[in-house]
Symmetry: C2
């Protein structure tokens, strides 16, 4: 890894996509890939790929290209897949079930430890094999287990309250699906505000545009 020259957000946002393509190549037992080949697959320029990777150091070999296994593991490392991050979900609704059931966590080395809900009736049940606890037990749980990430799948109205609940628990990141934009940087907590609807709207815009052209 290179010195601590800040890596631009644009590059960081592209890393997961590299990760996905490299995992696919790795699974297909492909040993090497050149920036040109990868560029063709991904629909980007070879220049950008080399430039991006070089933010983190030289992963390739002149005249040869990149060793898929090595590169895949490097990108994994950069993205923290190796770090065994642990997560909890707050809000045991439909979105919680969808996220907990799919391979999102396991594919990225994140362990889902528990689910919390403010409805006492849900406590004691399980979602995708993970226990649901009353929200009141969150602090106690975090005291006994290191929790890095909280996923907010509560309604918008409960977003603020959920944010307050995780303060002082050691949680360092929030994956926020509530549609209420949160900024917890003053508490040293990173937030990813997810707005599923936004992409639906840009899709609608694109459809509209294409019709106008025709």
């Amino acid at each position: 890894m290179k010195g601590q020259t800040e890596v631009s957000e644009a590059v960081v946002n592209r890393l997961p996509r590299y990760y996905r393509y490299l995992r696919e190549l790795y699974r297909k037992d492909i040993l090497r890939v050149s920036s040109g080949e990868l560029a063709d697959m991904m629909g980007v320029t070879a220049s950008q790929i080399r430039h991006d990777f070089n933010c983190f150091g030289g992963f390739g070999q002149q005249g040869y290209g990149y060793n898929v296994k090595f590169l895949y593991h490097k990108i994994s490392e950069i993205l923290g897949v190796q770090d065994n991050f642990s997560a909890i979900i707050i809000g045991a609704g439909n979105l919680c079930r969808a996220i907990a059931t799919g391979p999102i966590f396991t594919h990225r080395g994140v362990r889902l430890l528990a689910i919390f809900d403010n409805n006492p009736a849900k406590a004691g049940s399980t979602v995708a094999g993970v226990s649901v606890y009353p929200i009141e037990q969150l602090h106690e749980f975090c005291g006994k287990n290191r929790v890095d990430i909280a996923v907010f799948t509560v309604p918008k109205a409960a977003a603020r309250e959920s944010a307050e609940r995780i303060l002082g628990t050691g949680i360092r990141g929030v994956w926020n699906y509530t549609n209420m934009e949160l900024d917890l940087s003053t508490h040293g907590i990173a937030v990813q505000n997810i707005h599923l609807g936004d992409t639906l709207m840009t899709l609608c815009y694109t459809i509209k545009e294409r019709s106008n052209e025709a």
Copy 2:
């Protein structure tokens, strides 16, 4: 609306966020907002806001600012909220339930007409009040109803097949949650490839970075 000078992708991707903030102001019965006020709320520059809006024409008034109701409706119009787009979902799983149950569609003027699944056992049931049909009936359904958008919530392995099924149905856009990146531009179909896991990874990266700094 201005001439047909192409609006940049960066601007288009910001529109839904403007839409959300303006809806909030509108609901709070706030009549006017200046670019400076909106900029403070959203954490962007006033210059960017004025620049963005002016891609579509002059929505403001010098010395006054922007009329919230007017601007909100203009942005809605640009994003096609008025157009009464209709959608169907392919894949009646957990993610389908989460998306269909929430207000994502209704908040954006999109009507969810039907859900399709390849499991015949699911046919006849309903999800969030919407009927589930066998996938074989997709073409027939689209013949009888104008469908603009297909949402793919099938497993990755069924993505390609789903893409083929919508060809010739009149569907113009795909909101693709399958994790298999699709490009249907040769068929004149717009695609939004959604990768929920990607944002989880950038969150992990950010957490890691912050720890390294400290």
